[in-house]
C-alpha cells in the first residue's frame, strides 16, 4: 500500500493524462464517426466508397501498428507532432471507424417514415440528416456508443507502448522503482475500473434522459 501512497503524484499525473486522452479522443472520434457515417449514406457514390474504405481500413488494422507507424515512421517523411497529440490523433481516427459503424446502425433504426416526411416537407439531404435522422439515430445507440467509449478508455493504454506516460505507464514506472507489483498494478486496474464505471453511469444517465421510448 505504501508504494501507492508514496507515488500519488506519479499516479495522479498518469490518471490525468489518461482522462485527458480519453476525453479528447472521444470528442474527436465522435465527430469523425458522424462525418464518416454521413459519408457512408451520402447520395454521391465516391463519398460512400471513401466512407466504406475508411471503416474497412481502420477496423482491420491493429491500433498499436497505427501508433507505431504514426509515431516512429512518419517522422522519416517529415511529419512530426508532439507525442500526446500523435497518440490522440491515432486513437481518435481508429475509434472513429467503430463509432461510425455504431452511428450507422443507429441511423438504420430510424423509421423510413421519418426520412420520407423530412423529404416531403422539402428538407435537403443535409437538413433531414441534421434535424430529423441524426437526433433520433444517435439516441438509439447511446448504449453501444458507451461501450465503444469504454473500449477507447482501455485502448488509450496502448499509448504507453509508444512512450506516452499515462496511467499504465505510470504504474509500470512506479513498479520499477518500488518493486511492489501487486499493490501498484491492482491500484491502476481499480482506477481503470472506476473510470469505466463512470462512463457506464454517464451512458446510463444519458440513456434514461434521452432515449425515445416507443
Amino acid at each position: 500500500m505504501d508504494a501507492l501512497t508514496a507515488h500519488l503524484s506519479e499516479f495522479g499525473h498518469g490518471l490525468v493524462t489518461t482522462v485527458e486522452l480519453t476525453v479528447v479522443t472521444t470528442v474527436g472520434a465522435m465527430l469523425l464517426g458522424i462525418v464518416v457515417a454521413t459519408l457512408r449514406i451520402a447520395p454521391v457514390p465516391l463519398l460512400r466508397a471513401i466512407g466504406t474504405a475508411y471503416v474497412e481500413v481502420f477496423q482491420n488494422l491493429p491500433l498499436l501498428a497505427l501508433l507505431v507507424l504514426f509515431v516512429f515512421a512518419l517522422p522519416t517523411i517529415g511529419i512530426t507532432f508532439p507525442l500526446f497529440t500523435s497518440a490522440a490523433i491515432v486513437i481518435a481516427v481508429y475509434e472513429g471507424a467503430y463509432l461510425a459503424e455504431a452511428i450507422r446502425a443507429g441511423i438504420n433504426t430510424v423509421g423510413v417514415g421519418q426520412a420520407e416526411a423530412a423529404r416531403a416537407i422539402g428538407l435537403t439531404f443535409g437538413q433531414s440528416l441534421r434535424h430529423v435522422i441524426l437526433p433520433q439515430g444517435l439516441r438509439a445507440v447511446i448504449q453501444p456508443i458507451g461501450n465503444i467509449c469504454i473500449a477507447l478508455l482501455m485502448n488509450t493504454s496502448l499509448a504507453a507502448a509508444v512512450g506516452v506516460v499515462e496511467l499504465t505507464q505510470a504504474a509500470n514506472t512506479v513498479n520499477l522503482v518500488e518493486a511492489q507489483p501487486i499493490a501498484v498494478f491492482t491500484g491502476a486496474g481499480l482506477a481503470y475500473m472506476l473510470l469505466a464505471l463512470i462512463i457506464g453511469q454517464v451512458t446510463g444517465l444519458l440513456e434514461r434522459r434521452l432515449a425515445i421510448v416507443r
Binding site: 482491420n60 488494422l61 517523411i77 520499477l176 491502476a188
Partner: protein, 289 residues
C-alpha cells in the same frame, strides 16, 4: 444499401445529378490532393527512391515477415482456442443455478472487461516473475490475451444463450433432460450457430491484439517489422508493408464473418441447413408437427 438509407435522398433529378457530379469531382480532387501531398512528402525526404523499396521485392525480407505472420497466427490461434473455451465456461458459470459460481464468473467478467490488456501484459512481464512465474515469451503474450479475451467471449456466449427462445430450454426440461443435457444438446448447438458472425469478429479483434507482442518482444508480425526496420533502416516502408499484411488478413476474416452473417451463421450447404431447421425427433417414432 437498405431502405432508410435510400429514402434519405430521392431519385436524383437533373439538378441533383449536377450537384452529385460536382461533389464527385470535388471529392476526387481532394483525394488526389491528399495523395499528391503524401507522395510529395515521401519524395522530398527521399523515401520514394527505388532502392528504399527494392528490398521488398526480395524473398528473404518476405520470408522474415511471413515468419512474423506465422507467429501472429499461432498466438492468435492459441488465444482463440483457450479464451473461447474459458469464455464458454464463464458464460455457463454466470448462468448457473449456483449463486457462488454465478457471482465468481460475474466478477471475473466485469473486472477483466474493464482492465486494459497492456496492464495485464505488464503484470506478466514485471510482476509474475517476482513470484517465480516466468513464462516463455509466447505465453507472456498469450496468457494476458486469454485473460482479457475470455471475458469478451463470455459476454458473447451469454448474450447468445439468453437470446435463444426460452421454450427451447423448457421443452428440453419437459422431455426429461437434466439441465446440463439441455445446455449441451439443445441450447448450445443453436446458440453457437447464431453467434458465428460475432465470434469471427471477436477473432479479428483478437488477431489485432496479438500486435501487443511488440511490447513483449515476441517476434510476431509487428515486432518483426520493428526488428527488420532496425536492420534495414527502412522505417516507413516496413511498417506500411506490415500494415498491409494485417489489412489483408483481417479483411479476409471480416469478409468471412459477413458471408457467415448473410448465410445466418451456417457453415454447411443445403443439407446442414435443413438439418438445423428440422431437429431430429427426440423420441423415436414421435415426429414433430
Amino acid at each position: 444499401m437498405n431502405q432508410t438509407q435510400k429514402i434519405l435522398f430521392d431519385e436524383p433529378g437533373p439538378r441533383a445529378q449536377r450537384r452529385i457530379r460536382i461533389a464527385t469531382v470535388l471529392g476526387a480532387v481532394l483525394l488526389a490532393g491528399a495523395l499528391a501531398a503524401a507522395v510529395y512528402q515521401f519524395a522530398s525526404h527521399g523515401e520514394l527512391a527505388a532502392e528504399r523499396w527494392e528490398p521488398f521485392t526480395t524473398w528473404p525480407i518476405w520470408r522474415y515477415l511471413f515468419n512474423g505472420l506465422w507467429a501472429t497466427l499461432r498466438a492468435a490461434a492459441a488465444t482463440a482456442v483457450l479464451s473461447a473455451a474459458l469464455g464458454l465456461l464463464l458464460a455457463l458459470g454466470r448462468l448457473s443455478t449456483h449463486r457462488p459460481l454465478r457471482w465468481l464468473a460475474g466478477a471475473y467478467v466485469e473486472v477483466f472487461r474493464t482492465v486494459p490488456t497492456l496492464l495485464l501484459i505488464y503484470v506478466t512481464l514485471f510482476a509474475l516473475p517476482q513470484y517465480g512465474m516466468n513464462f516463455p515469451l509466447f505465453w507472456k503474450l498469450v496468457v494476458p490475451l486469454v485473460v482479457s479475451n475470455s471475458a469478451a467471449f463470455a459476454e458473447i456466449f451469454r448474450s447468445g444463450i439468453l437470446a435463444l427462445d426460452r421454450g427451447q430450454t423448457e421443452a428440453g426440461l419437459a422431455v426429461g433432460l437434466r439441465r446440463g443435457q439441455v445446455m449441451a444438446l439443445v441450447v448450445l448447438p443453436q446458440a453457437l450457430l447464431q453467434l458465428t458472425p460475432s465470434l469471427v469478429s471477436q477473432l479479428v479483434g483478437l488477431l489485432k491484439d496479438t500486435s501487443l507482442g511488440f511490447v513483449v518482444s515476441y517476434t510476431e508480425l509487428l515486432y518483426s517489422g520493428q526488428v527488420l526496420s532496425s536492420y534495414t533502416h527502412l522505417l516507413i516502408q516496413t511498417f506500411l508493408v506490415v500494415a498491409l499484411i494485417y489489412l489483408v488478413v483481417n479483411a479476409s476474416l471480416s469478409k468471412f464473418a459477413r458471408v457467415l452473417q448473410a448465410r445466418n451463421g451456417r457453415f454447411g450447404g443445403r443439407r446442414a441447413r435443413r438439418a438445423a431447421e428440422l431437429p431430429p425427433p427426440l423420441i423415436e417414432g414421435n415426429t414433430p408437427r
